[in-house]
């Protein structure tokens, strides 16, 4: 088996000259850069299949296909060379021959009807190539099929300052800018609404009109009511907390502004280049808006300079570019200024959140009430989902006696809010975690112990019916407690220094593909093609937005086929060649795409092993696939090279092709909204933050963070750590300094990166990333998400740490120095102290009762720890649903056991009077129930 092999043995000339058609293939084993096969790396092969990789959380179904090649090893992202050498092509780097420059005319009014638009002067300007207005794009679109409320350009009215009115393309930017000044528009100014509370009231001219489904004449886009559990448990609480929060809207702050290039090729097909997280939705929306079948459109995703949810809607400027290009027959490029990025927004909703929690005398969480009024701005975007997420994603990881949620999203005349990293879960999570701390404070128990004694176990169900599989929450809490030296610091640090805890819980892939029934079509599909050179080309639609999806897909294929990573080439840019993928949102990509990629790779692997079987005569069960070589496991000398096996497998058919897909199992309840928040797996996290508070100036400095995140299995620990540290940065921005400021006239006052204060390197604490691996049974090699969940805990950890430092609970985010100062002054005056530096530090004030409770909590959590381990390893497979902690039998439906057990998605009439701020939306009726107009 040395010296290569030939297509037809013994046919080479003796003089060494080549014979046409009879060339020698590269020597066996070639294909990678290293001529020598690497030994199997047993440290990265799980114990369950004879390796040395420890598996504290038990074995995994993918263990037998581990090859020790790359999974679990730190790997720089495969596209990082292109980025660090400046060769990555982002949206604005696309330069097509004969391009023209597009500019968008934006509304100077917050809310106005367009009476008329006169474009004649614009058209007359030399250098102008094409002009378009709302009349050119009557078809509406939107990211969610249920709320298609956007147009390429305003059709009847503008809904916020900066809303798109018209667009123009010209020979250069200066001409296009000049042209914008020549539009003549007649407006009818309407009364704008800025305050989301006002949005709950009836108005003459609601921002959108939903016909018979419109809620009275309000600006409410979506209202949600959910009530689960035994409400009688809330009566006579042993301890309770009540927080009324105001949280400012925040923006993603990605580096690359939006940019798009549109070109209708000579065959009349649209080629659209755009940095999109979700190219497929853009594809669909383009088809609708342009009235062109989808197969006549090729969406090319450029490199994406950061997304974080802010590039996941189909955008009107993408439509504008396509319309202008169609009109002119020339490519059109539109690049946003930073200000325009803020106008299109889709950042986190400004929120008014009220959280009431209660606990019983055993320290169990009996009541969990959330009311969330969220400010949607001018359009729906992902808001329908956000309205649910604000409630349902806050329940776990805790076992609750009851859960009550009212949520409402209202339209206001501001740039539209949308999805942002940690979508819908961040704000309420912060309020809930701070509420837990407040209860722990009242009960004089350690907040970590309170949490540890109230966790749902692995393989259980939450109060709203989410299926929890793997669950590393307990380990995460234990490890940050130990890492931070919590027990020696909490409530023991001097004034101004504090330490705080926060937990997180997030979906790992939305269980419902927005556009279709998951039982009919898969969530993700991946194609693999292996040609004679041995290189593996992977086609996926997964949009790499810097999170490393390309690397993750390449890694799993590399692992299954035992090939060096440089032999795997991922092609993911074009919709023409990529299988349909739902895109990079809801932290679905690694879970779903890597699973699909594993399946596709397994198909190729099987073909290779069968070919090796043919050559060697040993059954694949006895063969080992290792670095570019397949051999008999009891005698490694008997084997074939990867290329030999490949070429054998390719006989008579050429390139090997395979396809793999992933779809989530059926799950969840049947109540209205049950699908919101469903996911095939959930991530868990716990952070401890340490802060220094300059108590006189009100400045907070976060100094240290211990950040434990359960990502199931770190396919690439380097990338996971990057995500954790990046999440800390982003979350710290929201909790300390970032906010979209709307001034007294309703104008966004800080639409630039100087005044929108993203933390700098100086504000970054030392972050100690701690990876918890709970090995998810359905995740690829056990992996779950690590892109969004890690953001959640940092907010409450900081707010709780500030309390530990100065004894003041803040409910306004961000905690800018003026807010902190105000709180300090208030307390100083209340205590009648001379200086702020005289404020008392919060301390434990243990009494006999609290010591007893603390002991009981510790005992319970120790018992639960054993329970959790047995369940994690599936040694205990008994059913577990939320409510067992309260003494209920998980084998019988809870509503059959407890008289008061409720599962409601609409309020009872007698509840109406007690509903919170957002709950007031339930006082109104839909038009169809009012006998109103259509």
């Amino acid at each position: 088996m040395s010296g290569g092999y030939r297509q037809q043995p013994n046919s080479a000339r003796k003089d060494g000259k080549r014979v046409a058609g009879k060339q020698v293939f590269p020597p066996p084993g070639a294909g990678g850069s290293d001529p020598v096969m690497k030994e199997r790396d047993l440290n990265f092969i799980p114990e369950s299949v004879g390796g040395k990789e420890p598996q504290p959380a038990g074995s995994h179904i993918h263990d037998r296909i581990r090859t020790g090649t790359i999974v679990g090893k730190p790997l720089p992202l495969v596209d990082s060379n292109a980025k660090v050498t400046g060769q990555a092509w982002y949206g604005d780097d696309v330069r097509l021959a004969n391009e023209s420059i597009g500019k968008i005319l934006r509304s100077p009014h917050h809310y106005a009807k367009i009476i008329s638009i006169d474009t004649s002067k614009v058209e007359a300007l030399p250098g102008v190539i094409a002009v378009a207005t709302g009349a050119d794009s009557p078809n509406s679109f939107g990211v969610l099929p249920v709320t298609k409320d956007e147009h390429a350009m305003a059709v009847e009215k503008v809904r916020h300052m900066g809303d798109l009115v018209a667009c123009v393309s010209a020979i250069d930017e200066a001409t296009a800018i000049e042209a914008l000044g020549l539009f003549e528009i007649e407006w009818e100014i309407l009364e704008p609404v800025f305050d989301p509370k006002k949005g709950l009231e009836d108005t003459d001219e609601p921002i959108h009109w939903r016909g018979k489904y419109h809620l009275a004449k309000t600006n409410v886009q979506k209202r949600v009511f959910q009530e689960f559990g035994d409400r009688s448990l809330v009566e006579n609480p042993f301890s309770s907390s009540h927080g009324k929060w105001t949280m400012a809207g925040v923006h993603h702050g990605f580096t690359e502004p939006h940019a798009v290039v549109a070109h209708w090729d000579p065959n009349g097909r649209l080629q659209l280049y755009t940095p999109q997280q979700v190219p497929h939705y853009t594809h669909r929306a383009l088809s609708t808006v342009l009235d062109v079948p989808m197969h006549q459109i090729n969406v090319i995703r450029t490199f994406v300079g950061g997304g974080f949810g802010g590039k996941s809607d189909p955008f009107p400027h993408e439509m504008c570019a396509a319309i202008l290009a169609r009109k002119s027959g020339r490519p059109v490029r539109i690049t946003f200024d930073r200000e325009e990025v803020y106008w299109i927004n889709r950042g986190r909703h400004p929120s008014n959140i009220e959280v009431k929690m209660s606990a019983d005398k055993e320290g169990r969480i009996s009541g969990f009430d959330i009311d969330a009024l969220i400010d949607g701005g001018g359009f729906a975007s992902f808001g329908h989902v956000t309205s649910y997420y604000n409630g349902v994603l806050a329940t776990a990881p805790y076992e609750l006696g009851s859960f009550h949620y009212t949520g409402a999203r209202v339209w206001t005349n501001k740039p539209a809010s949308g999805a942002m990293r940690g979508h819908g879960a961040v704000n309420t999570r912060c309020a809930v975690e701070v509420g837990l701390d407040e209860m722990a404070e009242q009960m004089n128990v350690d907040p970590i112990d309170l949490r540890l004694a109230n966790l749902l176990p692995p393989h259980s169900r939450t109060i709203t019916g989410f299926r929890i599989t793997s669950n590393g929450m307990r380990e995460a809490l234990e490890r940050v407690r130990e890492g931070s030296d919590w027990d020696n610091k909490f409530r023991k640090l001097p004034l101004g220094k504090g330490i705080g805890i926060g937990c997180g819980f997030f979906i790992s892939g939305s269980g419902l593909p927005i556009h279709w029934d998951p039982n009919r079509f898969p969530h993700a599909t991946v194609h693999i093609q292996v040609d004679m050179d041995g290189g593996v080309t992977v086609h996926t639609g997964a949009a790499d937005i810097g999170q490393g999806s390309t690397t993750a897909v390449a890694q799993v294929v590399s692992e299954v086929l035992a090939l060096p990573i440089e032999m795997i080439h991922v092609r993911s840019h074009e919709s023409d060649t990529s299988p349909v993928d739902l895109g990079s949102y809801s932290s679905r990509v690694t879970f779903m795409n890597a699973n699909a990629a594993i399946r596709a790779a397994l198909d190729i692997r099987e073909k290779l092993l069968d070919a090796a079987w043919d050559i060697l005569g040993y059954h694949p069960n006895t063969l080992i696939i290792n670095d570019r070589r397949i051999y008999y496991k009891h005698d490694p000398a008997i084997g074939v090279s990867y290329l030999q096996a490949l070429h054998k497998a390719q006989e008579d058919k050429g390139a090997l092709i395979s396809s793999g897909s992933y779809r989530s199992p059926p799950m969840g309840g049947v109540h209205k909204g049950a699908a919101a928040g469903l996911a095939p797996a959930y991530s868990f996290s716990a952070y401890v933050a340490e802060v220094d508070v300059d108590i006189e100036l009100g400045l907070i400095k976060c100094t240290n963070v211990w950040a434990a995140h359960d990502c199931g299995k770190a396919l690439n620990p380097l990338a996971v750590k990057g995500q954790i540290i990046g999440s800390c940065h982003m979350g710290l921005g929201q909790v300390l300094s970032e906010k979209m400021v709307y001034g007294r006239t309703g104008h966004l006052q800080n639409a630039n990166l100087l005044e929108y204060k993203i933390p700098s390197i100086h504000e970054m604490p030392h972050v100690e990333p701690i990876i918890v691996e709970s090995s998810d049974p359905e995740g690829p090699f056990g992996a779950k998400e690590a892109g969004e969940g890690p953001l959640l805990p940092i907010l409450p950890a900081v707010v709780n740490a500030v309390y530990d430092a100065i004894g003041i609970r803040y409910n306004d985010l961000p905690l800018t120095p003026d807010i902190v100062f105000k709180g300090v002054e208030k307390k100083r005056k209340k205590l009648n102290l001379e200086e702020a530096t005289d404020l008392p530090s919060p301390r434990f004030t243990h009494g006999p009762k609290s010591i007893e409770l603390q002991k009981a909590l510790v005992k319970r959590s120790e018992e639960h720890k054993k329970r959790d381990l047995a369940r994690q390893k599936t040694e205990d497979t008994s059913p577990y649903v939320n409510g067992v902690l309260f003494g209920f039998d998980p084998n019988i439906p809870l509503e059959d056991q407890v008289e008061g057990w409720r599962m409601a998605t609409e309020p009872d009439p007698e509840q109406l009077a007690e509903l919170g701020l957002a709950g007031k939306a339930w006082l109104k009726k839909e038009q169809r129930h009012m006998g109103g107009e259509e």
Partner: protein, 322 residues
Amino acid sequence: MLMPPFILHHPSSVEEACSIASELIERGEDFDWVSGGTDLLANYKWRINTKPNVISLSKIPGIDTVSDLEIGCMARLSNLEGSNVHPMIAEAAGKVASSLIRKSATLGGNLCLDTRCFWYNQSEDWRRSIEWCHKADCGTGADCRVIPNQNTLCVATYQGDIAPVLMVLGASVHLIGPNGERVIPLSEFYQLDGMKKNVLENGEFLLKVSLPEDSLSRVGSYQKLRVRDSWDFPEAGVAASWIEGDRSSIKVATTALESIPRIHTEEVSQIIEQGWDDEKSVKSLAGVIRKSVKPVNNTALPPNYRRSVVRVLIKRAFSQMK
């Protein structure tokens, strides 16, 4: 963002610069001076009060000197950090914006910094939508948006870091123009109007800063309040210095609280007259100065907060002078 067109003049001597200026004045053409460009050009991109001509000082040799008693207008801020200048100047220069910006930004530019306001430092579209403001009214005679109906004064905030430090060191500025050179104390350089900003006459520019001998024996501190430790302009700033042991030499100046940086001579002498009693006097001085400054709502943090913290900043500045 597209830079609006302008003619860039590149004089190679101070005399040439002055003659270009006087020529432009004669022709009735507007112009701006530019040194590092970190303030002016950013505003130009936003189309804020752009001019058809810009005279750059960057090609004039010899006006970037850095010594302990004289600093040229073209001295880059990065060259002032930790070099042979007064430690207070180094401290303040090191706190300006970010290290990248300090590579470009100059002392002259920092002293002549345009005043700032969130109704003013916005794009053209943005300002059009509020129908402009008093400072950049585009010929409409628009009202002030911070304090409407007073229409005479622009209240944009001066947010330079180095001016208060130079003030408490007793610095003078050398101004030069077609009508010759003049030297005035820096404390008289600024004019309480966010539009006029300072006493520079049309065609004049700030050539250099000189410091008195006794500045070398001064010790002090500059306290800057900002949200982030990089990039951000001061939201409030206090500089204080004295010649060690000599109470009558105490000087205090504030910045970022009004349209001008201001030296608080009266307030200081009022307290000294009452007889100096270290901590107690610092406290009363802080109280008096806090009352005398009148920040308005046009920067990132609210004015009542910025005013309140003046007390703390003064206390801290003095605690570092001991």
